[in-house]
């Protein structure tokens, strides 16, 4: 739930108007000809690869996207409702490297991919499988999309994300997911796979991403229309200017998706941050990232669309204190800002380049704490506890009272990683740091992992489709 607003309604409207002006007067490049054809038919002015959007066309498309939808899981108990109020947490996405305390930083492999997929599955706080928690670099690039989709379906029964690497890869991923749910006709009314096509900032979409938008919309599968601006490098250094540009990009993608299939579910997805001006590179653990979350959370609410922002983000190179404090700040703000789909909610460090096994566990704890904060406070006669206070009276204690016994589990969050023992006990138990405990915890999770059941015939059909 949104608990923090950084801009006035008037300021949000100014950003919206500027975005519409950018779309109408500056335009957006779509290199993919089929996308341009669809947009031209829908009323856009096309000049070469550049597409100009009349404001009415944009406003119209925005009204068509639903503000809530259900994403179905292989295990129906794990279905997820994505709307404008609740928060869904999703695993890390796309790192080419992994790191852990035992083996250090390295190019990620299929083994890491499977391990982190299992961890995502085992972590109660992760609601949706990112489908690419790290790159399986030892699988040939052209085979990865289908392979990752298959393995995610096999190792987990939670809802999943799918490939956006072009129309064909997207289509195959959707068809693979559809196999598990009774075919492509069934899933059109019952979304099962969600994707994240990204803009090529500033103001363009490449063939792959535009193709993915079309594929997901054709099958009416949800998509996060995403823009990652690097303020000061790919967009203006000012927050307002970056958001105006970013918003224009996202709106252009939403228009395309709605033209392909009216009412196809959209998540407004904005993951901008700023450039570190000492190097000219992306910085994600910055306070500006959190400021962008706050603005974008409000913009998504203005459009009445579910919102994806930020994550547990850090620029640190290992799972250390910097990783923890940056993640705590960015993830807290993402939730306070009203984020409804929080990708990269666990594991990310190194500006998205590395997934840390230990940080998966650290962030699991942060998510747990945030979920508790989000639950808020219940105020009623029972929770106000006047009778109990009267009964115990001055100088009594509540630890042994039945009221405490009845309420503490629902009122208090029980940490899964944090240490709250006294110092002597802590020393006796090995004086382990949070990183060391995290290391032990992910190993234990992998040991305890049990593969969810997948029907043999479906498995065989999936493998056949994957290798086709």
């Amino acid at each position: 739930m949104q608990r923090y607003q950084i801009l006035t309604q008037n300021e949000i409207e100014k950003i919206h108007e500027t975005s519409l002006r950018i779309l109408e007067e500056v335009g957006v490049v779509f290199s993919y000809a089929p996308a341009r054809e669809i947009l031209a038919k829908g009323g856009a002015k096309v000049d070469g690869q550049r597409v100009y959007f009349p404001p009415a066309m944009v406003e119209e498309a925005l009204k068509k996207a639903p503000s809530s939808f259900k994403l179905h899981a292989r295990d129906p108990q794990k279905d997820v409702v994505i709307d404008t109020k609740t928060t869904t947490y999703v695993g890390p996405y796309g790192s080419p490297y992994v790191i852990d305390l035992d083996k250090g930083r390295r190019e990620s492999t299929l083994e890491d991919f499977i391990n982190i997929t299992k961890l995502e599955y085992m972590m109660d706080n992760i609601d949706v499988m990112s489908h690419i928690p790290c790159e399986p670099n030892d699988i040939p690039a052209e085979k990865r999309a289908a392979e990752m989709c298959y393995l995610t379906l096999k190792y987990s029964d939670k809802p999943l994300m799918g490939s956006v690497l072009g129309y064909e890869n997207a289509k195959k991923n959707i068809e693979m997911a559809a196999l598990v749910f009774g075919g492509v006709d069934v899933i059109k009314e019952k979304p099962v796979i969600i994707s994240i096509p990204c803009t090529l900032t500033p103001l363009s979409y490449d063939d792959k991403m535009a193709g993915a938008i079309i594929a997901y919309a054709e099958y009416r599968q949800p998509q996060l229309i995403n823009s990652l601006c690097i303020a000061g490098a790919t967009t203006p250094a000012t927050v307002a200017g970056t958001v105006a540009l970013q918003n224009a990009e996202i709106l252009a993608g939403i228009v395309l998706a709605q033209l392909v299939s009216e009412g196809t579910p959209i998540v407004y997805s904005a993951s901008s941050s700023n450039a570190e001006m000492r190097y000219g590179t992306l910085s994600i653990g910055s306070p500006e990232d959190a400021v962008f979350s706050l603005v974008n959370g409000q913009l998504a609410k203005y459009y009445n669309l579910p919102c994806r922002i930020s994550g547990a983000l850090s620029d640190s190179k290992c799972c250390d204190t910097q990783a923890a404090y940056e993640s705590a700040v960015t993830l807290t703000m993402a939730q306070m800002a009203g984020g409804n789909f929080i990708l990269h909610a666990a594991g990310i460090i190194d500006g998205y380049a590395t997934t840390s096994y230990e940080k998966m566990m650290i962030d699991d704890e942060i998510i747990g704490m945030l979920r508790r904060i989000d639950r808020g406070v219940t105020v009623n006669e029972d929770t106000l506890a006047f009778d109990v206070i009267k009964e115990v009276g001055p100088q009594g204690e509540f630890l042994s009272h039945e009221h405490t016994f009845m309420h503490f589990r629902s009122e208090f969050y029980q940490p899964v990683l944090s240490d709250r023992q006294n110092a002597d006990q802590w020393e006796k138990n090995g004086a382990l740091t949070a990183e060391q405990r995290a290391n032990a915890r992910w190993k234990k999770m992998l040991e305890e992992y049990v593969e969810p059941k997948l029907d043999k015939d479906i498995d065989a059909a999936l493998i056949k489709l994957k290798d086709s």
Binding site: S31, P96, E107, L200, M277, R278, G280, A353
Partner: protein
């Protein structure tokens, strides 16, 4: 009256209009073109470099200094023959096949020009054959490749392989967010730089 010290200062502060004005004034006053370049324009960049490295100056400021130097160069260049133009060397630059990201690459190009190299920017989505063609045409000391996508990194290896196959004598360097020193070593590159400023340093070292 315009002095070389003033020109040098306008480069350091990234004052493009002033750099243009002062260079023209110095030319009009009869100062030798080589002197303007060495004691004014390059002298300015020689102050900028270390300040950037120390964290006193930031990328946008360095780029503005490079722009100020470039406008000065534009004025002085026609007064010199090609052989008189001081240059650290030629670098062919491009984003590899399948990859459309060019901002990082452009940044590297600007930093390289700012530190005195001639840069031939081939653009984005450059196939190995195109790199080879450009090497044959421009005869550079270094070819610099960029990739932002893990899926296009293999194109760096393809390019290096083709360059070697063709027997071309040129140093190959690679960069981009997912690229690492380990990857560079693995594909037989001569160098890797983690950011634009280090790329300029790396190139200076490679031609030195």
């Amino acid at each position: 009256m315009a002095t070389l010290t003033d020109l040098c200062q306008s480069i350091v502060t990234g004052n493009v209009a002033q750099a243009k004005e002062l260079t023209q004034a110095l030319v009009d006053a009869g100062t030798a073109p080589l002197e303007i370049i060495n004691d004014g324009l390059i002298a300015g960049m020689n102050i900028v470099g270390p300040r950037f490295k120390n964290g006193e100056m930031f990328v946008p400021e360095v780029l503005m200094s490079a722009k100020a130097m470039a406008v000065g160069m534009e004025i002085v260049k026609p007064l010199l023959s090609d052989t008189d133009m001081p240059s650290k060397g030629t670098i062919v630059l491009g984003t590899v096949k399948g990859d459309l990201h060019d901002i990082g690459k452009n940044l590297v190009g600007m930093m390289l020009e700012g530190s005195g190299f001639k840069v031939v920017d081939l653009g984005i989505d450059i196939a190995p054959e195109k790199f080879v063609e450009a090497i044959k045409e421009h005869n550079p000391q270094i070819v610099a490749m960029s990739a932002l996508l893990t899926t296009t990194m293999p194109a760096m290896k393809d390019t290096i392989d083709l360059i070697k196959e063709e027997g071309l004598k040129v140093k190959c360097i690679v960069g981009g967010a997912p690229v690492s020193q380990g990857f560079a070593d693995e594909i037989g590159a001569d160098g890797y730089a983690p950011d634009a400023a280090s790329a300029a340093e790396l190139c200076t070292k490679l031609v030195g």
